[in-house]
Structure formats: C-alpha cells, structure tokens
C-alpha cells in the first residue's frame, strides 16, 4: 500500500520535466550543503561559517584558479557560496517550519472553534499583517541585535499570518463538508477530526506554500543582510556576500563576480523550491488525482 503510493509519487515526479529539474537542482544544493567541508575545507573547524580572510587588500579580486569566484571584502566568494548553501537551508527550514507551525495552530483553532476565539485570533493576525514586513523586521532586529538567529526570529514573528489565514479559510470550508458530519456521526473525537479529517484536506496548499516560501525567505534574509541587519560581516551567507558589493555598486566591472555568483546561487535555490512546490501540489492534492 505504502509502496504503491511511493511508486506513484516517484512516477509522477519523473514524468514532469520541470518538477524533475527542480528536484535535480534541489538535490544538487543538498549535496553541496552536505559536502561543504569537502569542497571548501574550513581553516578553523570550530567556526566553519566564518569565511577565512583571503587577502589583506581591500580591493576586490576577479576569479582566479586559487579563488574561483573571486575575492571581495578580503573574503573568498567561493567559500562563502558553498557554506552559504547550509545557511540558506537553515534559514529556509527553520523559518518556514516554525512560522508554518504557528500559523497552522492559530489558523486551525480560529477556524474550527469559530465565534469569539476566531474573532480575537484573526484581529491579532490583522494587526501583524498591517505592519510592513521589512520595517517590522528591521525594528525587531534592531531591538534584538545583529545576527542570523535574530533575523530568523524576526522573520518568524512576522511570517506566520499568511499560513494562519490560509488554514483558517480552508478549515471554515472543510468543516461544513458532509464527511465531517459523517465522521462525527461515527463517534470520532474533536481532536481526531481536526488532525485526521480536516487538516489533511487543508494542508496541501500549506505544503505548497512552505516550499514556495523556503526560497523566498532566503531572498528576504538576503535583503535584510544587504541592508546591514543580517549576519555579521564575514559570515558565510549569500546576502552578506552581496552586501560586500554594496561599496562597489558603481563599479560593476570591478565587482561583478560578487553579485553574479551568490546571486545565481540564490536564484537557482528559489527556482528549485518553486518547481518542487508546484510539483508537490500536483501530486499530493488528492482532489487533483486521477
């Protein structure tokens, strides 16, 4: 039974060329992240996320055999891009995971119980939504201090609302379905009804949303890093690498590699997640089966 299901998913995935491309890209990134210590051995094994100083000259250096992606801000870009893959996954998985969990909890409580519970929770959601994300994240990071973990906290704090609303809306719709009444008529408990009967019917848009957000979260984190709110200088993070090129913006000739390499990594990362997200939607949604 399970075997059959897995077979079906795999078969569908391989029949869809764009999904396959997304999957290959994603696997590529995963391999890079896992093999980072092999591809770019850290100088200081206790602190691998610090990009080692490559040169004392402040001028950016174009790609060379020794530094294949060039050097900017005294740091080796290749090392930063490789180890930055791990950072990207960390940001994506943790932020998307935690904020989705918060969103699902709040959304399903609001949707299932309705009434004043719904009213209060949704007004709180509205308040959070009414604050422009970047401004809110900036204020919060300023309060909490610099660092990648602080950025992630800010992104979680202001990142759960869309999921909450999505889940609530879906639950409002699904809980009126006759099969929910049928389950109640069979004596199934409230908790089991939410978890077994309602969530599986509402979770698919959320799974798609998660995988779409995984990519875009990395861009947001990079934007914050670029604004100087992200990881500290020298941290292996694509956004931080990009922020180095800020000083050379007017001189593209001299610093193109600092934008192109981390930028490409980021675009491909987002693309991979979006393609996989699309494919997941097609495959998992039982209403699209057949």
């Amino acid at each position: 039974m399970v075997k059959k299901e897995v077979k079906r998913v795999v078969k569908k995935f391989f029949r869809n060329p764009t999904a396959l491309m997304g999957l290959i890209l994603l696997i590529f990134f995963i391999i890079v992240a896992i093999l980072a210590p092999v591809i770019s051995p850290p100088q200081d094994p206790d602190n691998p996320y610090r990009i080692p100083i490559a040169t004392w000259s402040l001028e950016p250096k174009p790609p060379s055999p020794q530094h294949p992606f060039g050097v900017i801000g005294q740091r080796d870009i290749f090392y930063g891009v490789i180890w930055g893959t791990r950072t990207a996954f960390r940001i994506g998985l943790i932020v998307a995971g935690v904020s989705t969990l918060i969103g699902i909890t709040i959304g399903s409580i609001a949707g299932y119980f309705g009434g004043w519970v719904d009213e209060i929770l949704m007004r709180i959601t509205d308040i959070f939504m009414s604050i422009p994300f970047l401004v809110a994240a900036m204020v919060l990071t300023t309060i909490l201090g610099k660092g990648l973990d602080k950025v992630m906290i800010a992104m979680i704090t202001f990142g759960w609302m869309a999921t909450a609303r999505l889940i609530r809306g879906n639950i409002l719709q699904v809980k009126e379905e006759q099969f929910i009444l049928a389950a109640k008529a069979l004596g199934v408990k409230h908790f089991a009804i939410i978890v077994k009967h309602i969530l599986p019917n509402t979770i698919f848009p959320v799974i798609v949303q998660i995988s779409m957000r995984m990519g875009s979260l990395v861009i947001t984190a990079a934007a914050l890093s670029f604004l100087g709110l992200g990881a500290e200088m020298g941290y292996a993070d694509w956004g931080t690498l990009l922020s180095y090129s800020r000083n050379w913006l007017t001189d593209f000739e001299k610093s193109w590699f600092a934008i192109v390499f981390p930028g490409t990594a980021m675009v491909l990362f987002v693309l991979a997640w979006n393609l996989v997200g699309d494919a997941l939607r097609d495959i998992f949604d039982p209403r699209l089966r057949g």
Partner: protein, 336 residues
Amino acid sequence: MKDVLLQVKNLKTYFFTEDGVVKAVDGVNFEVYRGETLGLVGESGCGKSVTSLSILRLLDEKGRIVDGEIIFEGKNLLDLSEEEMRNIRGNDIAMIFQEPMVALNPVYTVGDQIMEAIILHQKVGKNEARKKAIEMLRKVGIPEPEKRIDEYPHELSGGMRQRAMIAMALSCHPKLLIADEPTTALDVTIQAQILELMKELQKEFGMSIIMITHDLGVIAEMADRVAVMYAGKIVEYADVKTLFKDPKHPYTWGLMNSIPRLDVEQEKLKPIPGIVPDALNFPPGCKFHPRCEFATDRCRSEEPEIIEVEKDHLIACWNWEELEKVKKIRRIGDAV
C-alpha cells in the same frame, strides 16, 4: 407487545439566528420499535433532517434542543455527557447521508474510513478491522472487496459510494440506522438496489431504520409506519398501509394526489398550492392553513394538537371530517 427502541418525546429544536429564532422542530413525538422501519416524510425544510441530527446531538453551534426527551434503550440521550454520546454514535446509532459524493473523506481510502469506525468502537487491531471491513464491503454487494478497500472515494461510482457509506454505518452493527434521503442523489435503478440492500441488511442485523425522505415511493417500499412532517411538526402518524389507503390529514392527502398513479385515470397531477412557510415567521394557527382548501377561522387562529382519530392513526387537524366527506364523494365519482 412490541419493544420500543427509541422514543422521541416533545422534541423542540430551535435555531438561534441573527434574524430570529427558527423553530425547525417544534414538539415532535414518535417512537421506533425494534426491527421496524419508520418513515419520516415531508417537503424540504420541514425539519426531518434536524430531527435526525437532534437524535445524534450533532446540531451546529446555532441549533439547540430546547425541550423534550430522546429515550434510547431507556436512557435519555440528552442527559448523556459528550463522551457517552460519542460511544453511542456509530456504535448504537449510525447515520447515512444524502450525498454519497461528499459524505466520504476524499483523502482516505474507503477501507481507512470503514476501519476507523471499527477500531474506534470495537477495540480491535488493524488487521482484524481490515478483515471486518472487507467482510462488510462484501455484504453490501461491492464486487472484489479486497481490491476496492484500497480505493479512494473518487474511484467509485455513486452507487458504490453509497454502498460503502452503508458499510461504514453498519460496520459496528448499530441498533438504529438513520438514513437521511439515502437514495435521493442516485438514479432510479441504483435507488431500487440500495433500498433492497437496506432491507436485506435490516433483516440480517435486526436493526431499526428511520427513513427520512420526501419520496413517497421510497416510503411505500420501505416503511412499516410513517410520520408525515410539516413545518416542524408531525401532522399525521399511521402505519404505511393505512396512510396510503386512507390519508386523513389534508396535507398528506394533497401529497398523495400530487404523485402520478397507474391505477386511476388522472387528467392532471394536482400539486399542493403554495410553498412551505418561512420558518422565521410561521402563520398563526395551523401552519398548513394558507395552503389548505378546508381551512376555517379556527384553523387560522388555533393550532390543532395531534390526536388519535382511529386506532394507531394520529393526525393534527381540526377539519379532518370535512376531508372524509370529500373523499367519499370523489370515490363515488371515480366509480362512475
């Protein structure tokens, strides 16, 4: 002396909406004997479904049972805790629904859903439950149940889905099955098959059925006794033969006249004029009077109680004797 399984006494279920109180069920009395089928007939919106949901206590937030008793095997269901009630649902009283298309959860296989009920109430393991589920599917006439059990609802036809629903409802051998328009969404040949199946299973399990429908054909086929509902009340209550041969309430009489018959030559079907009154503002007096050709001043101001006019034949009407005269005249007319 027949054994009473379920007795509904003076049940009142109201819905408290923003526009006012809707008296969906307003003082309904009936009983269901062991092994028999009670038909609950009426037009849409007369309170049949609300009555059945009240028995299982599955009303939504706005609906409340404001008065009455529902005695099932000597216990008043309205006094039970939610926990005790859950043990009764699916186990002692089960329900099947009108739309087999939407009454099965699309994300689980048919087997998962039948097994859920079995595991829940019979405290058996997964393998045992699966065996029982397959057995149940075979009983409801689904071919190749070993294969069908792993199929999703969308892979089954409407008739098959309704069979699966019946299998699910009967998996714990309930004493009472509430069937809410179980065949309305199916085409006629499938309807006949499903009704036949329900009769067979009723005999096999010895259960009682409350058959809710607006289809008098289904009632004639299935029911032993019939309660006719109109605007939240039972207006006529009799055994099925008496009801069809000798309807005494003008509403029931009107219903009978509005269905085509093969044995009498009819020029036109005679529908009951008007529609079911708006539940938010029922007419004063007898709720049927605006549509009734026998209505008098008394009907317009005073609501009739349901009374026994012949043995085991109850109706709620002030002027049923008028109708009797008319029926006699028409019968003579038929003969001529």
